[in-house]
């Protein structure tokens, strides 16, 4: 590790009592202070300030200082001097033991990836880039359906921060990956930042082609060589490519961004792209809690989806839907989902032209908030569609390796399983974590729970949570130097537990028997709820409480043990409670007829007490 501006190198053998971490987001810089209290690491206080990458400041450290100064004011302690964050801590008590930062300011990390075959090396390259925290601007491959000149035009038009080039297995044919290298060379791509700089290109393809690729691209670009991401067809090795992406992010993107040269000197720990750090946080959460996790962060411009599945929680995937968001790209949600799909979640009528103008006005004035309930309901309806579309996108990429031969036994042959199967098994999903303004700041927490249920449709038993103040980025980067502190704060202060959802899977008819839930609540009250198909129920079980439930699905429904098979399990409560969602899965369908649909939506809203009834009744009556 390098030294910081105070000449510090972190020695983790000594006791770490205080940690300061910032996340320089595109609009807001958030700082958190973690301290050891009674032997446990806890979040003490947080501060935030507008990010200052843009004019008139053009220095990211100004925003970081403002956010940290808020923490100084709230704690009465001193963390800053003229060189930056004081670390390690001084004998007079000023400063912290560790300081670290993540960043997505200035548009984050924007990459283009290229490979030979779309569903093989190009898909692996895409996963490597996304997992490292990049926005993938385009994926170029020999079989992408475009003509060579169209690919060249596209590469010329985009100005990515870097390109990841892959293709071919080690020792295999060179000509295809060479062809892609020639295309890139012909396009003479330029980097987004730093006029006059060479564009960084990471070559992670057939190692035999390195010499030729160097000859073609070595002079024109800043070329780096790493291990092949598909050395053999059956294996994907993303680590070295991701590591090089992070190195180049520090060297090129961060070094060009205003003020980052100073920020980088504040800490010996490399600044990590925010989504890369969130991904680490999600992986840690899955391993710590021993359950599969899906996390989503819905922002103004983009929606990131993370998933961690597998026996050892080794199947990590991240996708970013670059144009699905709640302000800057809200009109794109409207465009992709259509007005009808948004309105199906709204329990009253609204004129379509009026709705469209309202959404456009939100796009051009993104910092406004809903003042009236109808506006809140519409905004939450749009978020359901943004989340749903982002999840569809995620499922398309969170798949096993495609185009490979599988060795099958006779049993597997009967299962008709194919390569490239989805890693997402909603029945195995243990926890669904939401973050981003519309989920984290919903006036009633049950609104966040319902938005996530509607958009992701988890199956069986699933814990629901929201990241209260979005500190996952800071905890992710912290886990690289102090996993224990990161895990303790994540568990105690990061998540707001909403509760657990019980969602029987199976087709049914309105009013048919679906599931019976029996149990005893911590206060001794008995629960014996029969929930019919098409209904929702809320069982009160508070934060930090657990209760054992016997869940008996009807014959055609499955809650995790098989059709009609009961489960007895301890469920975790939360600020919402236990939600029984018997609206059906596979398929889940809303009534097509408008009047019936509105009636049904109002029934669910009433069952879970989602919105203030009298106010909602006023809009329904209009």
């Amino acid at each position: 590790m390098s030294e910081n501006s105070h000449g510090a190198k972190y020695n983790l053998d000594r006791e770490i009592n205080s940690i300061l971490a910032t996340d320089c987001g595109s609009t807001t810089t958030k700082a958190i202070l973690i301290e050891k209290v009674d032997g446990e690491y806890r979040l003490i206080v947080r501060g935030e300030a507008p990010t200052t990458v843009e004019k008139p400041f053009e220095d990211v450290t100004a925003g970081a200082r403002n956010a940290i100064r808020e923490i100084e004011e709230l704690t009465g302690k001193r963390f800053l001097d003229d060189k930056g964050v004081i670390n390690p801590r001084r004998p007079d008590g000023s400063g912290v033991d560790i300081y670290l930062s993540t960043s997505s300011a200035g548009g984050g990390l924007q990459m283009m990836v290229a490979g030979v075959v779309k569903i093989m090396s190009a898909e692996s390259a895409q996963r490597a880039a996304l997992g490292a925290g990049a926005i993938v601007m385009d994926v170029i491959s020999i079989d992408d359906g475009r003509l060579p000149y169209q690919r060249i035009q596209r590469i010329r038009h985009l100005r990515p921060d870097m390109i990841l080039l892959s293709g071919g297995i080690d020792g295999g044919t060179m000509s295809h990956v060479a062809q892609i290298a020639e295309l890139i060379s012909a396009a003479e791509p330029k980097p987004r930042l730093g006029i006059g700089f060479k564009l960084p290109i990471i070559y992670a393809g057939n190692k035999d082609a390195r010499g030729y690729v160097s000859k073609i691209l070595g002079e024109k670009t800043d070329l780096r060589m790493v291990d092949n991401i598909r050395p053999v067809l059956e294996r994907e090795v993303l680590g070295p490519a991701r590591e090089e992406i992070h190195n180049l992010f520090m060297e090129h993107v961060m070094a060009q961004a205003p003020g980052y040269d100073k920020l980088m000197k504040w800490t010996p720990v490399p600044i990590m792209p925010t989504p890369g750090a969130v991904g680490l946080g999600m992986q840690n959460a899955a391993k710590e809690h021993k359950m599969s996790v899906i996390g989503v962060d819905i922002g103004g411009a983009t929606t990131d989806v993370f998933s961690v599945f597998g026996e050892e929680y080794e199947l990590f995937n991240r996708t970013v839907s670059a144009n699905l968001g709640m302000s800057y790209s809200i009109c794109n949600v409207l465009l992709e989902s259509g007005v009808a799909n948004i309105m199906r979640w709204v329990p009253f009528s609204i004129d379509e032209a009026d709705l469209r103008n309202r959404i456009r006005n939100k796009m051009i004035r993104p910092t406004t908030i809903p003042q009236t309930l109808d506006e809140l309901v519409i905004e939450q309806a749009i978020s359901r569609e943004a989340l749903r579309l982002a999840f569809i996108h995620h499922k398309s990429l969170a798949v096993g390796l495609r185009g490979i031969q599988q060795i099958r036994d006779i049993g597997a042959a009967f299962e008709q399983s194919m390569t490239g199967q989805s890693h997402i098994d909603l029945m195995k999903l243990g926890m669904l974590i939401g973050s981003g303004g519309v989920l984290s700041h919903a006036p009633r927490r049950v609104q966040s729970a319902l938005m996530m249920l509607d958009a992701f449709q988890p199956e069986g038993l699933t814990q629901l949570a929201v990241d209260s103040i979005f500190m996952m980025p800071q905890l992710g980067v912290l886990s690289t130097v102090h996993p224990q502190a990161s895990a303790q704060v994540f568990d105690r202060d990061c998540l707001i537990r909403l509760g657990t959802a019980i969602a029987p899977v199976g087709p049914g008819r309105e009013g048919e028997h679906s599931v019976i839930v029996r149990g005893t609540l911590p206060d001794g009250r008995e629960v014996n709820e029969e929930v019919k198909y098409g209904q929702m129920r809320l069982i009160p079980l508070g934060e930090g409480q657990t209760a054992e439930f016997h869940i008996q699905p009807a014959r055609s429904f499955d809650v995790g043990a098989g059709k009609g098979k009961a489960i007895t399990q301890k469920l975790l409560g939360g600020v919402v409670g236990v939600i029984v969602d018997a609206r059906g899965r596979q398929p889940f369908g809303l009534p097509v007829d408008k009047a019936t649909r509105i009636k049904k939506l109002l029934e669910w809203i009433e069952s879970l007490d989602v919105y203030p009834r009298e106010v909602l009744a006023r809009y329904s009556a209009k």
Binding site: P148, A178, E182, A301, I364, P366
Partner: protein, 373 residues
């Protein structure tokens, strides 16, 4: 956060404007500090590498990739002219001959014995950057461009489409509430920037293009009319590169919204003067709003004091920018410091303001913007 309200759009009769005029690649700066420039003056230029073109020579000559260099009549770097034979191969003891002709003028960039492809490149494409506004060159960015400065009347819109154009301002609306319809657009609008009141109709947009207006400014536009004009829907708020013959700027938003009096009155003062306008809008960190710049405008009467830096205080003129009072102009009455629960049950910072019709209402601070000057 320190600023719980949306900073307003700048509307001012006199301010100093600096415009950075930058090349996409390093090149040559053609002016020097102190030079006076006009909007159409070229201030910097460069050459973009010409368009490349791949030829699959191995396929076309039916030979192995590694034999391609042997069949080429031109070497890497050689100039070529369209129609010139650049590769030749013969087979069956010379009985069958194949020739490949250059499809473009340019040069041979790469002959690949690995893929059998040959990359040709067209001559460089010259790119010029113009001054955009009339003003003085105050700084040279070596090999990148210049900064041009002027004193001007300046109006920021909220949303626009279309790029940089210049033209004479022609105020058509009599009041800020007037709707600009097709009948108001006459042939004398050719080459001009026409200004309406609360709304520009779809028919007026079409007519403006027909008569050859270069720009159009109004309070509002209906979403469907914008889509009809472009032929597609705008999903993400990045504009300025639309392929349309007119630049359109709205000052207030989507729907019919009365133009702010201050903006309308300034248009009265700059009526007939030449403006540089740009519809480019980008709404995210580093917000870019569309703009109307009238360089060297002589202010009419005394200038009002600039109140923009004071933030929200009682008496500040504002516009409410969200339902239920969307588009309404108001004046701040007071700013209670404590958080208040609004209809959605969210606990937020609010302000009380007096609307134009005299009602005093409560609005979240996030939902107002200052009318700046």
């Amino acid at each position: 956060m320190a600023h719980a309200y949306t900073p307003g759009l700048k509307v001012t009769e006199q301010t100093t404007i600096q415009k950075v005029r930058r090349l996409p690649l390093l090149g040559d700066v053609l002016v020097k500090v102190g030079d006076m420039v006009n909007p159409d003056d070229v201030v910097a230029k460069t050459d973009l590498p010409g368009n490349p073109m791949s030829m699959n020579v191995a396929h076309d000559l039916a030979c192995e990739p590694e034999d391609v260099p042997l069949h080429m009549l031109k070497k890497q770097g050689d100039k070529i002219t369209k129609g010139e034979v650049i590769a030749k191969a013969s087979s069956f003891f010379g009985l069958s001959k194949k020739e490949l002709k250059a499809p473009i003028d340019g040069s041979v960039e790469l002959i690949s014995g690995v893929t059998g492809q040959v990359t040709l490149r067209e001559p460089p494409i010259p790119v010029q950057i113009k001054a955009y506004i009339r003003g003085k060159v105050v700084e040279i960015l070596p090999r990148e461009g210049v900064i041009v400065e002027t004193t001007a009347a300046f109006i920021q819109g909220i949303f626009g489409i279309g790029g940089e154009v210049q033209g004479q301002i022609k105020l058509i609306a009599k009041t800020p509430s007037d709707v600009l319809d097709a009948s108001s657009l006459t042939p004398d609008c050719k080459g001009k920037i026409v200004v309406g009141g609360s709304l520009v109709t779809g028919a007026a947009l079409k007519k403006a293009i027909e008569v050859g207006a270069v720009g159009l400014v109004a309070g509002g536009i209906v979403d469907a009319d914008l889509i009809a004009l472009l032929g597609y829907d705008i999903g993400v708020a990045i504009t300025g590169h639309e392929d349309i013959p007119i630049t359109v700027i709205v000052t207030e938003g989507f729907g019919q919204i009365k133009m702010a009096d201050k903006t309308f009155n300034l248009f009265k003062n700059i009526d007939g003067e030449v403006a540089s306008i740009n519809g480019a809008t980008q709404i995210r960190a580093g917000v870019m709003r569309p703009e109307i710049i009238v360089p060297e405008h002589k202010p009419v009467g005394r200038l009002a004091a600039d109140t923009s830096s004071e933030g929200l205080i009682p008496g500040t003129p504002i516009r409410v920018i969200r339902e239920p009072y969307f588009g309404v102009l108001a004046e701040v009455v007071d700013l209670p410091p404590e958080l208040q629960v609004i209809e959605t049950e969210a606990k937020v910072r609010i302000l009380r303001c007096k609307l134009e019709d005299g009602r005093v209402v409560t609005v979240p601070r996030a939902n107002v913007e200052i009318i700046e000057g």
